[in-house]
C-alpha cells in the first residue's frame, strides 16, 4: 500500500512538472512575442488619439506643456470657420463621387474583364496601375495635365479656339478636377475586389441563366451583382474611409487653394493645425475626423448587415 501511494505521488509530480513546463513555455512565449506589438501600437496609435482629445481643450503651440485651458473654444472656432465647412463639404463630395461614380465604373469594368483571358489580364493590369503610384506623383502628373499654359486641357481649349482655362486655379473647376484624379487613381482597386468576387461566382449559375435566355445585362444584374454583395459592401467601406483621408493628391495639385476652396478635412488639419502650430485647434479637427470615421463605420456596418439579413 505504501508502495502504491508512492508511485501515485511520483506519477502526479511528473504530470505536474510537464504541465508546469507547458505553462512556463507558454508564458515565456507570450512574454517575448506579444509586448513588441502592444508597445508599438499603444505608443504610436492609441496614445496619440487620446492625446488629441486632451490637446483639443487647450490653446497650445506645441512647446512646453499645454497650460492654457480653453474648454470647448477650439471646437466652437472650428465649427464657425467657413473654410472648415468647405472642407467638410468637399470631403462629403469625395465620398459621394467614390460611391456613385467610381464604384459603378469599377463594377462595369470588372464585369467586362473578369474572365481569365490574356487580353483581360492586360486590361486589368493597366486599370490597376494608377493605384500603385504614389498620390504625390499622380497629383504632379495631373497638375501638368491641367496646367493652363502647358497642359493637355490647355491644348484642348486651344484646339477648340477658346481661351485657356487655368483649371486648378479656377474656383469652379479645381475641385471637380481633383475628383476626376481620385476616380482615376482608385477605381482599379475597387475593380480588382469585384473581379476576385466575380471569379468566385459559380459558373453553373451564369450558364443556367444564359441557357434560360437571359441577356448579359440581365445576368449581371440578377445573378452576378447579387452574388457579390459582400464585395460591394467591403469596397464601399474602403471608399468612404479612403475619402475621409484624402490629403496627398491635393497638396501638389492645389494645396487647398484657390482661396481655400479645395481643402479636405485632412489638408485643413494640416494647414491650419500643424503648419501654423495651432496644436490645440488642429487636434479639435482631428477629433472631429476621428468621430466621423467611427460614426460612419458604425452606421455603415449596422445598415449593411441588416440589409444582408433581409
Amino acid at each position: 500500500m505504501t508502495i502504491m501511494t508512492r508511485s501515485a505521488v511520483h506519477k502526479r509530480s511528473t504530470t505536474d512538472r510537464i504541465r508546469k513546463n507547458v505553462v512556463s513555455g507558454r508564458l515565456s512565449a507570450v512574454l517575448i512575442l506579444l509586448p513588441p506589438a502592444l508597445i508599438l501600437f499603444s505608443l504610436f496609435v492609441i496614445l496619440p488619439l487620446v492625446d488629441a482629445a486632451y490637446y483639443s481643450g487647450f490653446s497650445w503651440n506645441g512647446y512646453g506643456s499645454p497650460s492654457d485651458f480653453v474648454g470647448t473654444e477650439n471646437y466652437r472656432r472650428l465649427l464657425d470657420h467657413s473654410v472648415f465647412h468647405t472642407a467638410l463639404w468637399n470631403t462629403a463630395k469625395l465620398i459621394l463621387v467614390s460611391l456613385l461614380v467610381q464604384m459603378p465604373l469599377a463594377l462595369g469594368l470588372a464585369l467586362l474583364v473578369y474572365r481569365r483571358t490574356p487580353t483581360n489580364t492586360l486590361f486589368r493590369l493597366v486599370f490597376f496601375l494608377p493605384y500603385i503610384l504614389a498620390e504625390v506623383a499622380a497629383g504632379l502628373i495631373w497638375s501638368f495635365v491641367f496646367d493652363g499654359d502647358y497642359g493637355i486641357t490647355a491644348m484642348m481649349f486651344q484646339a477648340l479656339g477658346e481661351d485657356s482655362v487655368y483649371v486648378l486655379s479656377d474656383h469652379q473647376w479645381a475641385f471637380p478636377a481633383i475628383m476626376t484624379v481620385i476616380v482615376w487613381k482608385y477605381f482599379g482597386f475597387h475593380m480588382m475586389i469585384y473581379i476576385a468576387a466575380l471569379q468566385g461566382v459559380p459558373n453553373d449559375l451564369v450558364e443556367a441563366a444564359r441557357l434560360e435566355g437571359a441577356r448579359p445585362r440581365q445576368i449581371a444584374w440578377f445573378v452576378q451583382i447579387p452574388m457579390i454583395k459582400h464585395a460591394l459592401v467591403v469596397s464601399g467601406f474602403f471608399a468612404i474611409i479612403g475619402s475621409l483621408q484624402i490629403f496627398d493628391i491635393i497638396i501638389p495639385m492645389t494645396n487647398g487653394g484657390p482661396s481655400n476652396s479645395t481643402h479636405t478635412i485632412v489638408t485643413y488639419l494640416y494647414s491650419f493645425g500643424l503648419s501654423r502650430l495651432n496644436i490645440g485647434f488642429g487636434s479639435a479637427a482631428a477629433v472631429v475626423l476621428f468621430v466621423l470615421a467611427i460614426a460612419i463605420a458604425f452606421f455603415y456596418q449596422r445598415n449593411t448587415t441588416r440589409e444582408g439579413q433581409a
Binding site: 496601375l129 500603385i132 504614389a134 502647358y150 496627398d248
Partner: protein, 274 residues
C-alpha cells in the same frame, strides 16, 4: 446585337478607358524628353527629338539617389519590423489561449478603423518628445504601428489554418513555442508574408504625410518629399518635373509588372479576406 458586335464594342470601350488611364503617364514619360518650348505646343504626343538631357541631369544629381535610398531603407525597415512584430503577435493569438487574449486581440485590431491622419498632430509631438525627429525611426516606428492591425488580422487567419497536428508532434519531440514559431510557422507562411510584406512596402514607399511632418533635414528626405522639393525649385519647368516624376514612378511600375501577382493579392487581399 450579335456576339461579335458586342465583343468589338467591349474592346473599343476598354481601349478607350485604358488610354485615359495610360495617357497622362505616357505624356509624362514623353514630356521628360522635350524642351519646355516644345511642351507648350505638344504636351501629349511623341517628342520631336528624343533628348535625354533632362533625365540625365536628374540621374547624375546625387540628391535623386539619396531620396530613393532613404525611401528604400525606410520601406525595408518598416516591412521587416511589421512582419516580425506582427507575425509574433499573431502567432500568440493563433497558438496560445490565455485569460484576456481575446480582448488584447480586439485592442490591437482597433487600428483597422482609425484614419491615420487623425493622429498626425499628437504623433508629431510624441515623436519630438521621444527625440526621434529627423531620424529614420520617426517614420519607421509609427508606420509599423499603424500597419500592425491589418498584418495581425491576416497573419492570424493564416496561422489558424496551419495543421494543428504539426504543432502537437513537434511539441512532443520537445520543440518549444518559440522554436516552433521560427522553424515551422514562419517558413510555412511565405505566401502571407509576401502578401503583407508587399502591402506594407508599397504603403511606406508612397507615404507622404508622415515623412512630411517628422523629417525636416533634406538629407533624410524620402522621394515624395524630394519630389515636392524639386517641384518647388523648378516651378514651371515642366519638362524637368515630368522627367523627375517619370524616374521616380518607373521603379514602382517595373516592380509592379514583375511581382503583380503578389501586389494585387497584397493590396486587395486584406479587403477580400477581411
Amino acid at each position: 446585337m450579335n456576339r461579335t458586335t458586342r465583343n468589338t464594342l467591349r474592346v473599343i470601350l476598354l481601349i478607350l478607358v485604358a488610354s485615359l488611364v495610360i495617357g497622362p503617364l505616357l505624356a509624362s514619360f514623353f514630356g521628360g524628353f522635350k524642351s519646355n518650348a516644345e511642351l507648350r505646343t505638344n504636351p501629349l504626343w511623341l517628342p520631336g527629338n528624343w533628348d535625354p538631357a533632362n533625365y540625365a541631369a536628374i540621374l547624375f544629381d546625387g540628391n535623386f539617389w539619396r531620396y530613393l535610398g532613404n525611401s528604400f531603407f525606410i520601406s525595408s525597415m518598416t516591412m521587416l519590423l511589421t512582419l516580425v512584430v506582427g507575425a509574433a503577435a499573431a502567432y500568440v493569438f493563433a497558438q496560445i489561449r490565455f485569460f484576456g487574449s481575446k480582448m488584447i486581440l480586439s485592442y490591437l485590431l482597433l487600428g483597422l478603423m482609425f484614419p491615420f491622419a487623425a493622429a498626425i498632430l499628437p504623433l508629431f509631438i510624441k515623436v519630438r518628445d521621444l527625440g526621434l525627429l529627423d531620424s529614420y525611426w520617426a517614420v519607421v516606428l509609427p508606420q509599423t504601428a499603424f500597419g500592425l492591425s491589418l498584418a495581425i488580422l491576416l497573419f492570424k487567419a493564416f496561422f489558424d489554418q496551419l495543421p494543428r497536428e504539426l504543432f502537437e508532434a513537434a511539441y512532443v519531440d520537445g520543440c518549444s513555442y518559440l522554436r516552433f514559431f521560427w522553424s515551422f510557422t514562419l517558413p510555412l507562411s511565405t505566401p502571407i508574408l509576401a502578401t503583407v510584406g508587399v502591402f506594407v512596402f508599397v504603403q511606406s514607399w508612397n507615404n507622404f504625410l508622415l515623412p512630411l511632418v517628422v523629417l525636416n533635414d533634406r538629407s533624410l528626405y524620402t522621394w515624395p518629399l524630394g519630389m515636392m522639393q524639386f517641384q518647388g525649385e523648378y516651378l514651371t519647368q515642366w519638362n524637368m518635373i515630368l522627367a523627375f516624376v517619370t524616374l521616380t514612378i518607373a521603379p514602382a511600375v517595373i516592380f509592379f509588372l514583375a511581382a503583380q501577382k503578389y501586389i494585387v493579392a497584397g493590396l486587395t487581399g486584406g479587403s477580400v479576406k477581411g
